[in-house]
Subunit: 121 residues, 2 copies
Amino acid sequence: MRYSQQREVILNLIQNTKIHPTADWIYSKAKTHIPKISLGTVYRNLKKLEQDKLIATIYDGNVARYDSNMEKHDHLKCNICGDLIDINKNNIDISKTILRNFNFKVSDIEMTISGTCKKHT
Amino acid sequence: MRYSQQREVILNLIQNTKIHPTADWIYSKAKTHIPKISLGTVYRNLKKLEQDKLIATIYDGNVARYDSNMEKHDHLKCNICGDLIDINKNNIDISKTILRNFNFKVSDIEMTISGTCKKHT
DNA sequence: GTATATGCAAACAATTTGCACGCCT
DNA sequence: AGGCGTGCAAATTGTTTGCATATAC
């Protein structure tokens, strides 16, 4: 992958925030560094960065968010502000542990387990 | 909520399939019963049915899928065909149990825990 | 009769893509 | 020089909405 200033700015933005930003947020921040940058460029670079495993995509409802924490981890999602907070599975015991460690009151736990179903064995 | 043939067909379609269909799938099946049904009607009824807790929305990547199994449950998602298979959390012990019970080879477990973060206490 | 539901089409939001040009290597 | 990356605008996709008409109750 060849160097480009746009890609560098985009990656830095993602790495320097904890908010798991959307493409739009990245676009508006990037414009303060590169006023002429386009939204298409943002999306193209996000795809590339994901392919190169420099970032990961999190689908939050029907909006994509981007995360540069590439260690396997999960999220606490606040029902009120929508913030996503990183957690390691190791930290999880049960709701009580989460309440204690994160001061986060759990109302629901959702899980998607992926893999290969029996049709492909 | 007042009766309508459209809504009845839509709900029946969701209840009679295990595939967690998308709005588009529902629309095309519904047309075989009600040729003039519109996609707008499908979406409006999906919203209503969700508000009335007759169905639930599952966000799968960036597409919404609809599920009439209203008991709390999670999903196994096949990496190859994209199918979502229902599971009860009770069934989950670990990957091995899943392999045994569902003949499903687990490659990843993702979890979103929602609730209220400390900013709102 | 009146409120709710419908079909249709236009509007929207998020994301992708074709094209001519620009800039790394 | 050659190819990857860019800006711009138009195209796509999934979903929502305004409006006039139709239907349940």
